[in-house]
Amino acid sequence: MPHCIDADVVVIGGGPAGMASALSAWNHGARRIFLLERGSSLGGILNQCIHPGFGLQVFGEELTGPEYAERYIKQFAHTSVELMTRTTVLDLTPSKKIMAVNPHGVWEFDSHSVILSMGCREKTRGMIMIPGTRPAGIYTAGLAQYLVNVEGYLPGKKVVILGSGDIGLIMARRLTLEGVDVEAVVEARPSLSGLIRNYVQCLLDFEVPLLLSHTITNIFGKERVDGVMISQVDDCWKPIPGTERVLECDTLLLSVGLIPENEISRKAGIPLCDFSRGPFVDENFATDMEGLYACGNVASVFDLVDYVTLVSERAGRAAAEKRARDTVKYWMTPGSGAGLVIPQRIRQTGDGMLFIRPNQGFREAQIHFISQGKVFDRKKAPVCRPSEMIRYDLKNIRWPEEGGEVTVEIAGNPIEGM
């Protein structure tokens, strides 16, 4: 028979979101809390992020990933949160029954609240369908990061990186420091995907070329990668004939986007949002199904771990307090210029945050909040970019009396190039 456990809160995933929500649930009075982590230790992806840049918002200082994780791991010593590592959740039902396995057996949890904090995964070569051969030497940037920083292996000697997402930029620097030649970072967009600070600190400082409006159109090599074909692309990301050239390399790293990991959410039947690719959530990161929460990158890919922590603390608190929830007052959707808005539901505007991701870069941006065809509030941002979410405290928005659908639009002067 499986080990059967009744719980107040079960948290699935022990990365930054799971740790923050479990600790917050404890601090707000929940007692029978279980944190299920499939790896052998807590911390998740933070453990492989040995570069600094974490914690400026939460701690007001710059930490490495493992240091940031450590701040939370230490706190568990003062709680009775049950930490279960090497434990993989295989099923979640709409009635919040969880099935998990670990080397000790099969575990069945019946929980009052369940917090989903499974994080996200990287897009792969197959997903973006780059034609060519399938040799060794094609890695997602995050996998390469783990191999280098945790396992101590070098994926290759001569690397091309596709995608200017943050992990790709960080890996360009990390590999350069290991003596690897980083031939180029190739980006299909006309502008950078990652943070500007990473462009400066990882590419400019190490003289790694960035090729904007370029993509990889073929991969060569029978057993091991021996080169890639790159082409310039037009405004619709279509390769421009005649611009092809071959870059010799033995390795291709892909940093082409992250996808929230919602396979377990789907099993439970939680409604998912096409824009965020995570569950629809409210300001407490409660999903549309009562008692089920989704926080951190499983809800929407955030650009800073600090934001993950902040939203996850809200989820943990709400899960612990078990308060009856209000009806949804505002239904948020992204309009022109906005890629996504999270949370998508707002019940209470007293506290909580709103995150908006622009779908292109703008200068002198105006952010319009629109209800029933009328702009009810407008904000300004001197510069905004897809790589950096715009964040507002809910209480600082002048919400209309009447609830309903709210569209967020961004307008401004488009940024060309960097």
Binding site: R86, T88, T124, T133, L147, E151, P155, G156
Partner: protein, 484 residues
């Protein structure tokens, strides 16, 4: 090391392994030579994985005859190899009135009582995603799908259990006949035997030439595929064939036994070693697939790949005895439906060998293969039992396909063992899921090195030169020791 055998099979594809398995029922010393590090590395690894029913055989050709003979073998394969095709059924879809005539011919060829032609309403009720323009479809409930890797491995493991030796990295470079025996030369050493079966897939024609025989020119036709995430598993529950063209079965959509959806292939003349996908080829597949399912979710693709068909101008299998070396049999042009026909081909080849003087004495005892459990497919009670036996069953390494440490260790220890990352993937599906290894590939090196007893620079994806790592990172040095 043993170098003298009663029979040598050259080529570890599905046909070579089927022949080895079939012959392992008899008192014979058998060797299988394979140039790569694993079985199923060539033509057998990239195809639709369909066990085509009788409706789809080609009458009047050798491949049709062997297709028919092969289907009689599957009950025995299920019993002796514990290998079970997933019977899905198939719909051949007519989109115009003119195409209905072809459907009638399928019914006549198949002769199944339970097969028949359905109207558009019935077809859409079975597969709602199908094109609204469907006018009729031939429904044959007998078609099945398999994992081509797992079928090949089942034959290989069954053969190994019954005494067949496997030599990998053994590319055959020539044949020498002397005193009634044939010496098979490989890059490393040579072996002798009275009977040799050349079933080297894309290399068969070349080997036949090396042996001094005349063969038609090989034409390599590429077929490209899309593989979808398991989230799409209910897109179609049955194989969806179009009405075929003159040259191929056409671009079809099929569920896989593991729950993915496979779409393809196109049919494009290429070089024998060109397994790269192309933009134009993928676009051609997209167009073909949309004729069957206009809303096909290409955004759910987890992998694209290409396979090569070794075809001959006659478009039939060519199985013949060498003019130069008595006892040597060549198998050329084993294209579709080679996977389905593989046990029938084995039977036919053995008949030929007997005609050439191979004497068959049945073994008193044949070992039946028992398939290793697949954790993902077990119910909770079985999972509980497995973990109680060995905690490695509770350690999930691959989250997407729910592959446990116990399965990975078994794949590295079984015979023939996985020696490569692709070998592991094909045996237990680790790295085969939606993340394509992003979350588990890093955990595999230490497991492989531990069990195979090798160093990190010996880790490869598939071929000997497909190394995974170019070295190790800088190590922290003891500054004080370095200064003194």
């Amino acid at each position: 090391m043993k170098t003298n055998y009663d029979l040598i099979v050259v080529g570890g594809g599905v046909v070579g392994c089927a022949i080895a398995w079939y012959l392992s029922h008899f008192e014979l010393d058998i060797l299988l030579l394979e140039k790569e590090l694993d079985v199923c590395e060539g033509v057998s690894k990239a195809n639709t994985g369909i066990i085509h029913s009788l409706s789809y055989l080609t009458p009047g050709m050798i491949k049709g005859d062997l297709h028919r003979r092969a289907l009689l073998w599957f009950p025995r394969i299920e019993k002796e190899l514990d290998f079970h095709p997933l019977v899905t059924g198939a719909l051949t879809v007519a989109l115009t009135d003119e195409e209905i005539e072809y459907l009638q011919s399928l019914k006549a060829i198949g002769g199944y009582e339970d097969a028949g032609i359905l109207g558009p309403g019935e077809v859409k009720a079975l597969e709602p995603a199908l094109n609204d323009k469907v006018v009729a479809a031939y429904f044959d409930p007998n078609a099945a799908v398999v994992s081509p890797f797992r079928l090949t491995l089942a034959f290989a493991e069954g053969a190994a259990l019954n005494g067949v030796d496997f030599q990998f990295e053994s590319k055959v470079t020539g044949f020498i006949s002397q005193r009634g025996k044939i010496e098979v030369l490989t890059e490393k050493r040579s072996f002798t035997s009275s009977f040799i079966v050349n079933t080297a897939g894309l290399s068969s024609n070349h080997l036949a030439q090396l042996s001094g025989d005349r063969v038609p020119k090989l034409q390599a036709y590429k077929g490209e595929y899309f593989l979808l995430d398991k989230e799409c598993r209910f897109l179609t529950r049955r194989i969806l064939y179009p009405v075929p063209t003159e040259i191929s079965k056409g671009i079809l959509i099929a569920p896989t036994p593991e729950g993915n959806i496979l779409a393809g292939p196109n049919f494009e003349l290429t070089d024998a070693d060109d397994t790269g996908t192309t933009q134009s080829g993928l676009d051609e597949v997209r167009t073909g697939v949309r004729k069957l399912i206009p809303t096909f979710p290409f955004d759910q693709t987890i992998q694209i790949f290409a396979g090569i068909r070794p075809t001959l101008p006659e478009r039939d299998f060519l199985i013949f005895s060498s003019q130069k070396h008595p006892g040597l049999i060549h198998l050329c042009g084993i294209e579709s439906p080679g996977l389905t026909a593989s046990p029938g081909i084995a039977e036919y080849v053995v008949d030929l060998l007997v005609q050439k003087g191979l004497s068959l004495k049945e073994k008193n005892h044949v070992v039946f293969r028992k398939a290793f459990p697949i954790f993902h497919e077990c119910d909770w009670q079985k999972r509980e039992e497995l973990i109680a036996q060995d905690p490695d069953w509770g350690q999930i390494i691959c989250r997407c396909e729910e592959v446990t440490l116990a399965e990975i260790k078994h794949a590295l220890k079984m015979n023939p063992p996985a020696q490569t990352m692709d070998g592991l993937k094909r045996r237990v599906r680790v790295t085969a899921g939606r993340c394509q290894g992003s979350f588990c590939e890093m955990h595999l090196p230490s497991i492989i090195m531990d069990i195979l007893g090798c160093d990190s620079h010996h880790l490869v994806k598939s071929g000997k030169k497909s190394y995974l790592f170019a070295g190790e990172t800088k190590k922290v040095v003891n500054i004080h020791a370095a200064l003194h």
